[in-house]
């Protein structure tokens, strides 16, 4: 602010650099006062008693500094005021000190005691600012004092002071790197800090001082992931970049198994075009030996917690998340970053520049990701040239057989641009498209040939160069073009183009036997006036002609070589001498002469036109090094994924915390002092809605606290139930281990209590076989011996519709090789009980339950929406995924699988003209732009059935056809499970007697008498949650209808023998009646 007058004044000023400008200097007082006097004036003001005068003087001095004027002689006068009471003066004195202390170290020491006093001030702002200045003074002698101050500040009670301590660390380190060990201790301490304020700053210090000490991160990893969203934006960037590196050292590549899978699967699961099949084959063998890939829950945690930051307003944060996904996410999930990156293209041109560089690199590896945004890279005449050229690069990278015609049409307009550099780049781009896409090679070549008659010489020249490269690929077919180009030598002056033409004629002189010698004749005539590069090619042409057609060109060659012999340029003289020896047989030149023809007219490989961004991704994206394509100072290599994952338990933290009053489920219970209203709310919201990333098959918890084993189990539970890979047995075993061996790991008392009950339950269940866990183990055993719901799920999917490649929730399958048959599962029993317990914790959360209740999921039934005959090759099936529909809790999520069995592409698949009955609402799925033949897409739509079993009717449209279809929900799908305690259940049941109670007697068949089967049958018939029950012979379930939230309570009581009684209590009598029917049928069947 002090600089403001200077800012305004100088804007229009035209002062040259070195010239003194007394007239402009507000401190001068008069034009004639000398330097010396001027400073006298200021000194006087500084010595005065009035703060206002001091302030004025300091403002002037700081303004001088800002303008690069030397104010060092004022040091003594200024430093005296360091103890000034006036805070404004003080601040400006600090600014001065930081600038000049290094130059006047002895004097600077005078001020140190003031800072030391400041460090003890009761006001946190003063403590912080004293530390800030102290650490900014680059005076080696005070290093010990700084060290001490930092150490103290690191344990300050104010997080703001601790943050400042973190800032001071790199400063001290740059002053004296011998302090490293001590500083690492402080960093370690601060890394353990739980406040968001400190997190970003300490990670920054870590990156500057000891980026190699990745071990310091282990214990803080989960905390950092969980805090991330609340850290200030600059801190987020630093943390995300560091965690990217961390993840690369600790986790396995999520893409390691895909190649294997792809080979074994009959059909590629997803059409990622950038597959490098060669590599895949090479690796397949080694991969076969590997264990199936299971994503580390911590790896997932990182991906999940960074994703929302793609919505940040800060371009650096968005870029950081984008590079994290690019480097760490499974291929199928990387796509989410494209939209955010494209958004950044609306920002300032500097931001565009950096983003486009990164997009250019990414688009080579993952072209599919940006294809939908092709048009966002179209070029406007108002774009700066450097942006145009980068966009062109991206467009070229994105070109493929399907979009090439659009792109070429676009290029055509670019060629007429007034910006000639851009036109030249466009021509290059056309050349690259022509090399990469064989189909359009001739079109491009023709287009370029037309450009040869362009009025602009630069355009012609560039075209010549590109045509030359293209012709090298198939010269025989294009002698016409070569002839045409030969004629151009008369007009075209650009050296590079002339040289290219000459080379072409020389190389393919057999195709133009008549013209070639004539061109040589003309060139010989103008030889002396040509540029060097052209001369060299004239010699080259002469040599080649001499070898092929010596009759006509002997004399000309002699002539050219003679001219070259006396050329000014030594390269040309050298070349002439060398060539003469080679081609003209003399006595001395022996052996080589025979090979001259072979030497000159050897088959030359066609040049490969490739992007300069190829393979640039070995640099961490978003980094300076990537942008420069050169390693910058201090760049930390992005390590390769390890072959074996290091021990994940290093990230477990043993912390004990006080119980939380409002504790809801096993989510991070910490609501530390800094997370007041807003973040607390955020957290709660998270709990209520943990499925926001529905598309990823992580309907499970979004939260996983620092270290509870629960988090792991949640993870596995949810991911397996969503049909993903992970139900791998090891993980469950791990949970068991963790659970049993680690009472001390539990996070708070509440949870510990949970565990205790759980353990009790477990024992109980072992005795009485009547516990919830039965349900899960049941389902897994029913799914043969593999114990994997995922597999079971897979089996459900009809063979015609391979696991939908578009549906991301299924995509984790790609990382999944079926786990080896597993003789089961005491472990799975444990984990399920754990799951049930968790469920118990989640009073507010209805969404987790269905995902966690594996039996429910194991029994997902698919219904036909459109038969492939009726749909003319398009077959559509749907199932009720029993996951909450994102965006509207009153809707039932219907997962729709569309398979294209035709042999043509189906375009723009969408829902149209829903004709819902009154009150019913339909949320269509996003239009599927195209579905390749044989492909299957899976989408989710939401329907609010209004708690009725009336069918929802709508039309399913393709670009050519409309099909009338309807979805009729079984009554059991109109509800979502809730959890309640036994007492609550009884209480609620008491309210729903009389008309609201429906009872039915039934006889349980032979096969349906075990607890497992009963629970499974009920939960498969209806989307309900189990309620604990004291009695052995009773089963209770509870749910709420999706639309109105009315309670549905189910009780199944076993009488003697095979008799049983089913009771349903619900306000909604119709639902109750139908539900009884459905459940009875399921049980009796």
């Amino acid at each position: 602010m002090a600089a403001s007058p200077a800012y305004g004044e100088e804007k229009g000023g035209s002062s040259s650099l070195g010239e003194p400008e007394y007239g402009h200097d507000p401190a001068s007082g008069g034009i004639f006062s000398s330097d010396y006097k001027r400073h006298d004036d200021l000194k006087e003001m500084l010595d005065s008693n009035k703060d206002s005068l001091k302030l004025e003087a300091m403002k002037r001095i700081v303004a001088m500094i800002a303008r690069g004027k030397n104010a060092s002689d004022l040091f003594p006068a200024v430093v005296k005021n360091v103890a000034c009471k006036n805070i404004e003066v003080k601040k400006l004195v600090y600014v001065y000190l930081v600038r000049y202390a290094e130059e006047q170290q002895d004097l600077a020491l005078l001020s140190i005691s003031t800072f030391q006093r400041g460090l003890k001030d009761p006001n946190q702002l003063i403590r912080a600012s004293a530390l800030r200045v102290l650490s900014s003074i680059r005076v080696p002698i005070i290093v010990p004092i700084m060290m001490l101050a930092i150490k103290e500040a690191a344990s300050d009670m104010s997080p703001y002071v601790r943050k400042t301590a973190a800032h001071a660390i790199p400063k001290l380190y740059s002053l004296d790197s011998d302090q490293k060990d001590q500083l690492i201790e402080v960093i370690e301490k601060l890394l353990a800090d739980k406040t968001t304020l400190v997190a970003g700053s300490v990670v920054m210090a870590f990156e500057e001082v000891c980026p190699e000490r990745i071990d310091l991160i282990h214990k803080n990893y989960r905390k950092l992931c969980n805090l991330l969203i609340d850290v200030e934006e600059w801190g987020q960037v630093v943390i995300i970049n560091m965690l990217t590196r961390y993840a690369r050292t600790q986790f396995l590549s999520p893409n390691q198994n895909e190649s294997l899978l792809e080979e074994s699967a009959e059909k590629a699961f997803y059409g990622s075009e950038e597959e490098d099949t060669k590599d895949a084959k090479a690796e397949a063998a080694s991969l076969a030996k590997r264990k199936p890939y299971v994503m580390d829950p911590d790896h997932r945690l990182l991906l999940r917690n960074t994703k929302p930051l793609l919505q940040s307003r800060n371009a650096a944060v968005v870029m950081a998340v984008a590079q994290l996904y690019f480097h760490l996410a499974p291929k199928a999930e990387v796509g989410v970053i494209a939209k955010a990156l494209v958004r950044l293209l609306r920002s300032h041109s500097e931001v565009q520049y950096v983003v486009l560089q990164n997009v250019a690199t990414m688009s080579i590896k993952r072209r599919g990701m940006f294809e939908p945004y092709l048009k966002s890279f179209y070029i406007r005449s108002t774009d700066p040239t450097q942006i145009k050229i980068l966009k062109l690069e991206v467009l070229t990278n994105l070109a493929n057989e399907t979009n090439i015609s659009t792109i070429l049409r676009e290029f055509q307009t670019y060629i007429r641009s007034m910006d000639k550099d851009f036109v030249a780049a466009t021509i290059q781009a056309i050349g690259r498209c022509a090399t990469n896409i064989g189909k359009v090679r001739d079109t491009c070549l023709n287009g370029l040939v037309q450009l040869l008659s362009n009025r602009d010489e630069l355009v012609v020249a560039e075209s010549v160069v590109v045509i030359k490269k293209l012709l090298q690929m198939q010269p025989a077919q294009h002698s016409e073009i070569i002839k045409h180009m030969a004629k151009l030598t008369d007009n075209i002056q650009v050296p590079m183009a002339r040289a290219s033409i000459l080379w072409l004629i020389g190389e393919y002189c057999e195709h133009v036997p008549k013209i070639a010698p004539d061109v040589l004749r003309k060139m010989a005539k103008s030889f002396t006036n040509e540029e060097d590069i052209v001369k060299l090619q004239v010699i080259n042409l002469a040599a080649k002609l001499y070898l092929t057609n010596s009759k006509q060109s002997k004399l000309l060659t002699q002539y050219v070589l003679n001219l070259a012999k006396y050329d000014q340029n030594y390269d040309i003289r050298d070349r002439a001498r060398f060539i003469r020896q080679l081609i003209v047989p003399t006595e001395k030149s022996g052996a080589l002469n025979k090979y001259a023809k072979k030497l000159f007219l050897a088959q030359k490989p066609a040049p490969i036109l490739e992007s300069s961004f190829k393979d640039r991704d070995h640099f961490q994206l978003g980094s300076l090094s990537h942008l420069l394509n050169a390693k910058a100072v201090g760049y930390q290599e992005l390590p390769d994924w390890p072959d074996e994952a290091p021990d994940p338990s290093v990230r477990n933290v043993e912390v004990r915390r006080a119980p939380q009053g409002a504790g809801v489920l096993g989510e991070p219970q910490k609501v530390p002092e800094w997370t007041k209203c807003t973040s607390r709310e955020k957290r709660k919201e998270k709990v209520e809605k943990p499925f926001y990333s529905d598309s990823e098959g992580e309907s499970g918890p979004t939260e996983s606290a620092d270290s509870e084993p629960e988090s792991a189990s949640e993870e596995s539970g949810s991911s397996s139930s969503s049909g993903s890979s992970s139900s791998g047995s090891e993980e469950e075993e791990e949970e068991e281990e963790e659970e049993e061996g680690s009472g001390e790991q539990s996070e708070d008392k509440e949870e510990e209590e949970e565990k205790r009950t759980k353990r009790k339950e477990k024992e109980g269940s072992r005795k009485a076989t009547s516990s919830e866990e039965a349900s899960a183990s049941e389902s897994s055993s029913s799914g043969s011996d593999s114990g994997s719901e995922a597999e079971a799920k897979q089996r459900k999917v009809p063979p015609s519709s391979k696991a939908g490649p578009k549906e991301i929730s299924l995509l984790d399958l790609d990382d999944f090789t079926p786990p080896p048959p597993q003789p089961v599962p005491s472990s799975s029993i444990v984990s399920t009980s754990l799951v049930t317990d968790l469920e118990g914790l989640m009073l507010t959360d209805t969404s987790l339950a269905p995902a966690l209740l594996s039996p429910a999921f194991g029994a997902v039934r698919t219904y036909e929406l459109l038969h492939r005959m009726a749909g003319e090759g398009l077959s559509v099936e749907y199932c009720f995924s029993r996951r909450p529909f994102p965006g509207d809790p009153h809707m039932v999520a219907v997962q729709i699988q569309i398979s294209n069995n035709t042999d043509a592409e189906v375009k723009s698949l969408r829902v149209s003209e829903p004709k819902p009955l009154s009150g019913m609402r339909i949320q269509e799925f996003p239009e599927i732009e195209r579905l390749a033949p044989g492909d299957t897409a899976s989408v989710v739509m939401g329907i609010d059935f209004c708690d009725s079993t009336q069918a929802a009717n709508f039309q399913l449209c393709t670009h050519t056809r409309h099909f009338y279809v309807s979805i009729q929900p079984p009554v059991g799908e109109l509800m979502a499970p809730i959890f309640m305690s036994e007492n609550e259940f009884k209480k609620e049941q008491g309210k729903l007697m009389g008309m609201s109670e429906i009872t039915e007697k039934l006889t349980l068949p032979e096969k349906c008498r075990s607890d497992h089967t009963i629970v499974q049958q009920v939960t498969s018939a209806a989307n309900v949650g189990r309620v604990p029950c004291g009695a052995d012979n009773e089963y209770r379930f509870a749910a709420k209808t999706v639309t109105s939230g009315s309670l549905v309570l189910i009780t199944l009581e076993r009488r003697e023998g095979t008799a049983a009684q089913l009771t349903v209590n619900s306000e909604k009598m119709v639902i109750g009646t139908m539900l009884v029917k459905d459940i009875v049928q399921a049980l009796v069947q």
Binding site: A6, Y7, E10, K11, G13, L17, A66, R99, Q124, Y160, E233, N241, P308, Q311, S312, R313, A315, A316, V318, M319, A320, K339, A340, R346, H348, S349, E350, Y353, V354, S376, R380, S381, T382, P384, Q386, T413, R416, M418, N454, R455, G622, L624, L628, A630, V633, G634, Y635, Q636, W674, C677, T678, E681, K682, E685, E688, K689, Y692, P886, G887, P889
Partner: protein, 364 residues
Amino acid sequence: MIHSLFLINASGDIFLEKHWKSVVSRSVCDYFFEAQERASEAENVPPVIPTPHHYLLSVYRHKIFFVAVIQSEVPPLFVIEFLHRVVDTFQDYFGSTNVGDQLPTGQLSVVPWRRTGVKYTNNEAYFDVIEEIDAIIDKSGSTITAEIQGVIDACVKLTGMPDLTLSFMNPRLLDDVSFHPCVRFKRWESERILSFIPPDGNFRLLSYHVSAQNLVAIPVYVKHNISFRDNSSLGRFEITVGPKQTMGKTVEGVMVTSQMPKGVLNMTLTPSQGTHIFDPVTKLLSWDVGKINPQKLPSLKGSVSLQAGTSKPDENPTINLQFKIQQLAISGLKVNRLDMYGEKYKPFKGIKYMTKAGKFQVRT
């Protein structure tokens, strides 16, 4: 990270410098000046310039280069975004009258974007929904690409710690959004409601992109007839601007600019309304049209004189269009309601809609 910062004005003077670590000599800027010379135009100076010992990262705004000197690896966007924020702050700071209180005081607060103890006698909250249409229209008038980018700018002057929620009638229109940090992301994810404790004063609440699936209404069309004849030093120039899909609203603030080819010496034109200027040095034609009256479409006709002896230009100029439509969000986005919690008084609330041309180009 940032070692030093230099501010360089249009005439190439370093008029301000600031060093956070040891002083870096001004001479480092010579590398920048070299690059500037090579680039010919300011906007083409590479934002990142490597030098033997430093890296220069710069942004160009208000005809001033802000050049940051970096010594080691750092994400370039980190610096660039930061510099832009610095400029934004300067702009706010020097632009507004009440200097002094505006500096951020929230560093210690739980809501760092809002200062505490805010008091107003009139409590008011205004929201401007502003949408820009980016489009490229081809020669024949068909749309090559068109998209809508929108922002909601807010001016909130409310006492205390108000907690606001803003909901839309049709939130599904919003395809891609980015928020001010005050917005609670989860709430948006789950309910499509913007819930936030607002900063005090002016701020951008949200920027959004309207889903590409929706067709973009193009509110204006341009009819053009620009021809240069061979062997003639005269060309014909005629453009007419008219309303297309305006939802019954008036198109105003229309401004047409076009960069003429180098061969154009001068233009003799007559507008049916508004004023026009052709700058024979930069070859830039601009026509300030004003309002479009659908009954009497504005046109600009006349002749172009070309440099004698040269062949006619290959390329036709692109036409850039600016316009404004009040009280219309072209995407159809509508705010449903705005509620305030946490404070007892009744605030005055206002929502305004506007549609503007973004990068709106017509190829000819």
